[in-house]
Symmetry: D2
Subunit: 370 residues, 4 copies
């Protein structure tokens, strides 16, 4: 298997290689009656487009999406939504050399170990271009959530050792800098760090934070399909992710129970809330109505211009220099991928939650209301 199908009801199948004919996605299980256009999808894709800043691949790719099915008269029909982005630049010649050796930090060796051979052109299926399908599906999932009043805020919180300052947090700033940082000052410092790394022929990692707002309490299945468990899988399914936290994350391991527990309170409207949110919006795998807060650690771009030691596919030691220009940082372009996977995961669990109570079945199948 290649494990390219995700979700139980909102089911996403991505396909395509970096230098094949194109990349795409099929979504089965999107509810009918959702207003949806190619523009809705394109807006999401544009957030991961290369060539948008000096820190990203200068290749100008359009990545223009085409919806091939599942939409009629501006609305989803409930049948599969197929979307494709054709690859414009299929210059295989650039990549012929990497057929012969295993790039450190890449999946070249492991694909060979699994499948016996690999499509070596530009990383093939393990290329970042695979995420185009996810982002297109994420745009659809976000449209569903948006109709239900749920929104997601995703941004870069650290690049290398440059972290945002919580006291300067400004959500409006996120889309004003090419690094998607909610702190102009940190973005500026991070920019300098990236320039330095590019000069060093090196790269850096970073951290993405994602906040899902207004999720009703009660979403997520209590044992294996916990909301946080599914989010963890979703995030770790993104290449280059090495760490994941919900709420206080690793800090909770050092806290005491009395500090870490969030007291329940009742607000003025009679709604039960939590006074604090160390839990990150999830208790026992089920949303508690607070903001869902998660942090995702991303490793540095493995393609660096410096000389590296490795072996050929035959096992001979060699020194290599990865050619072509590569982003010195994966993080900014991964922001929308994180948001997309969060949206897909939440939408899928909300759909499966609809059968949680007999009273929900009665609401939908009660013929008296028809």
């Amino acid at each position: 298997m290649s494990g390219s199908v995700y979700g139980n009801i909102f089911k996403v199948s991505t396909w395509g290689e970096s230098h094949g004919k194109g990349v795409g996605v099929v979504i089965d299980g999107c509810p009918a009656g959702l207003s949806l256009s190619e523009e809705d999808i394109q807006k999401f894709l544009n957030r991961r487009k290369p060539g948008q800043s000096k820190y990203a691949t200068p290749r100008k790719e359009d990545d223009a999406v085409e919806i091939l099915s599942g939409i009629f008269e501006g609305h989803t029909t409930g049948t599969p939504i197929s979307m494709v982005v054709y690859n414009k630049t299929q210059r295989s010649s650039d990549y012929s050399e990497i057929a012969s050796y295993y790039r450190p930090g890449h999946a070249d060796y492991t694909f060979d170990a699994k499948y016996g051979f690999r499509d070596y052109r530009g990383g093939g299926r393990s290329s970042g271009r695979e995420t185009i399908g996810r982002v297109a599906a994420g745009a659809v999932a976000s449209a569903i959530l948006s109709q239900l009043g749920i929104s997601i805020l995703t941004y870069t919180s650290a690049i290398g050792d440059v972290c945002i300052d919580p006291s300067r947090f400004d959500a409006g700033e996120i889309n004003r800098n090419p690094l998607y940082m909610p702190d102009a000052n940190a973005a500026k410092k991070a920019g300098l760090l990236l320039e330095e790394q590019m000069k060093n022929k090196d790269s850096v990692g970073g951290i993405i934070e994602c906040i899902i707002k207004n999720v009703p309490a009660g979403i997520g299945d209590p044992v294996f399909d916990k909301l946080d468990a599914n989010l963890a899988k979703a995030m770790f399914s993104i290449g280059a992710v090495k760490g994941f936290e919900i709420g206080d994350g690793f800090d909770a391991a050092k806290a005491t129970g009395t500090k870490n527990n969030d007291p329940f309170i009742c607000d003025d409207h009679g709604h039960i809330k939590k006074e604090t949110n160390h839990a990150g919006g999830i208790l026992g795998g089920i949303s508690d109505g607070s903001d869902i807060f998660m942090r995702i650690a991303i490793k540095p771009t493995p393609s660096v211009a410096s000389t590296q030691k490795t072996v050929t596919t035959a096992g001979e030691p060699i020194s290599v220099q990865i050619k072509g220009r590569h982003d010195p940082i994966i993080v900014p372009r991964a922001v929308v991928v994180v948001e997309s996977m969060a949206a897909i995961t939440l939408a899928d669990l909300m759909l499966s939650n609809m059968g949680a109570r007999m009273e929900y079945l009665q609401k939908i199948y009660d013929r008296r209301s028809e």
Copy 2:
């Protein structure tokens, strides 16, 4: 749904509540011909048994497992393995009070939000006793892996701010102290910390590390079902987990590419290896033949003896003191749960990997060898 089914081929269904008649598990998809006895399962269960140290619930429960199906003449038959542990102590009266309010840090409120009501006795389905089914299944998965030469080492690496000293790491020590720490000195210090917390009517969290050794390169599906993604889900499906790292984890976010990349080398037997293991044994979601290394952050036990603020199910503010004796730390008893989920996850992916190449199909379906 309650999301109590896990795995694609090695499929595990757990059931049971803390104070119901019992807890158990059904495994569908275990290969036939595996030698297996109740003793193999009991050994695993004994590692999570309460009442084994002064830091754990003094209730002496047997937790004796019974295999009800799927084994014949000492071997698995390929059909479902059903296992049950009957609950001995069903003292519902102890728990009647908690029906009326929401315990901070617990899933009481979220279960009500999802299902409309809950089995409030001892946490019901969200109790730690649910993991008995996982551990029984983990014992079976470990037996499969063991036959293939794969072993798993799991231990406590930190309790509160007491961390093990890597230079004193002694695997043999793990089973000699009640905290499962591979460093006798750290275990002693952690013991003092726990006594202090018990006096404070408080609790602490900690970190578990898990190393899977000798996994062949090539296991894990490259896109959504990455080996690390599935491990992340597996770990976050354990109650109280708040963070997860593979390899360097969050440190990778601060590293540079040249430092974080692991050079490939060729060993004396002509096998391709990695010189370092920042990646934690997984590249592009697929095992690379190095040790798989992961870290899991566990929050402090939410049941603390101190007075806490919360609300009743009707939303009225109250102060509560959780009665009964509760472990001041979840970590030691979670060690075998982590190991079990790792084993189940890996076994399942190894089973689905068998169809990765046409040559594997030919190996099994070639009639000339029959």
Copy 3:
């Protein structure tokens, strides 16, 4: 795999062998808030109990079900419902002989071919006792459907060449004769046929019909998960089933379009209906609001007392006589199994249908109604 898990949301896992410790089932995904007791389950199980007539195994087994989890204060909690029926009669000695040869018409040979060995006692996992788990789950699914106004009528329509006479159809008669035939006259004739077959040391097959009434239009997924496709699988998953029809079935193959098409009409309440029901209540895989009508062909009991030719497990030809008393007909005891599988299948598709429209999501997640 043993394929012992069924359903996407209402997920049923059966386990157990004929002469193991017991048989049982775990249901994950039953909505919370359904009133359910052991009596509800037992009523269904009693319909498949052996020893109820001279045409069925004289062994008097209680088959008393015990619910081990998932019910609290008389209602489902939304968490897994585990149910067990312990085997009373484990007389393995009766079955030792059949270990050495392959019974014609049974799964002895194919289990060996698949798994390398088998639990030969009483058919092991391929025994009819496996259906106890299905019937217990079917009782739960039926309780859900019943709450939504849906009912199922299942009966024997033919035994050997004795068919019911549609003009004498009397639903009230079904439970008045041991063959579950809705025609007293046919039941009498069939009884004589069975006595004759028992004298001949032979057995016969028959046909079961199943009608699901009051299913709302719109249930079933249009492509692979068509309602009829899932019902076909459900029925063929019952041992001994050899044929399945929806509506006119094989007769439709001989009909013309103008005859086979059912005209749509509008009833006095303004509801769209079909004037006829050649389609059997399903169009394009989706329920159309008419009765769902299906027919299931069941082969004769393979265990006959006559001498039969076969081979030993080593391939040596031998003549065998199957010992013990066996039902001369499978059909009557399979009636409730058919009904159970129909109920499980429909309940599961109704649960997954809840996400079919955005307006359904809004009905459930609209907070104004809270």
Copy 4:
């Protein structure tokens, strides 16, 4: 959901509407290393192409397939295979009228009932064009089976009341007549029947038979995922299928046990076989090594040129005449769809069977053989 994903390991997702931009399929889980070209796929698609005889739609459509991913250097890579057939003729205007009423025998009404509205152009997702994706996937599955020595023979056995004469069965004839009948005489008679029905502005149904040869014994999972259960679902997932039989099918219901049981014998090579094949190659849901034999009943084309009664979407009674030329018979074009679904189903179960025994795991993961 639209249930457009099929299979557990060899996972097929079809998409597309009759008059949308195109139709296609994504296959996830195809083993790596299979030789595959667009020609292999096109050959299968050509067998369902319209316009090939006077009994089929005269629209000349190319239905030229394009492989967009998953193939590299002439072989499958193990990653998703995406295939598309663009629609050439999108004359929506032809279909505008049918938006206003519900065609008898079609899924117009049930789609509206499920989703609230529908893509009414040419049947939208319920059109026969949806099967293009299945046939493309079937070509891939057939290539896998072919490598393992398995072949499938599929043909028309009856059209209306014209049946093939078993004594004249000639497999070579199947591809020599446009009706895919293995009996030239029957094909001629059936041709006359069809001309008559066309004159009558009517249509007829028929029966397809499918034989899978050389399947190793041991394939299929014994409980819910029986090989015959999965084949039944596969066949009933094809629009217009109303009946399904394995082996003797409904005739088995009238047979006695001594007649219906197939004696086991041992052939000259020491292989265990069955002397007869009433079972149709499957016992207890698992292949027994004999030919797998199944029969599928197909209803008459619902689109007939005669005047029919129906209602408008508002419920008003009207008389309609379906415009355009429609095939008077679905059967011949469905032959390759049946074969494709059989191939997909068998390939998927063979892949999941690879984990049936510990010795299979050892064969693949034993490093000594590397």
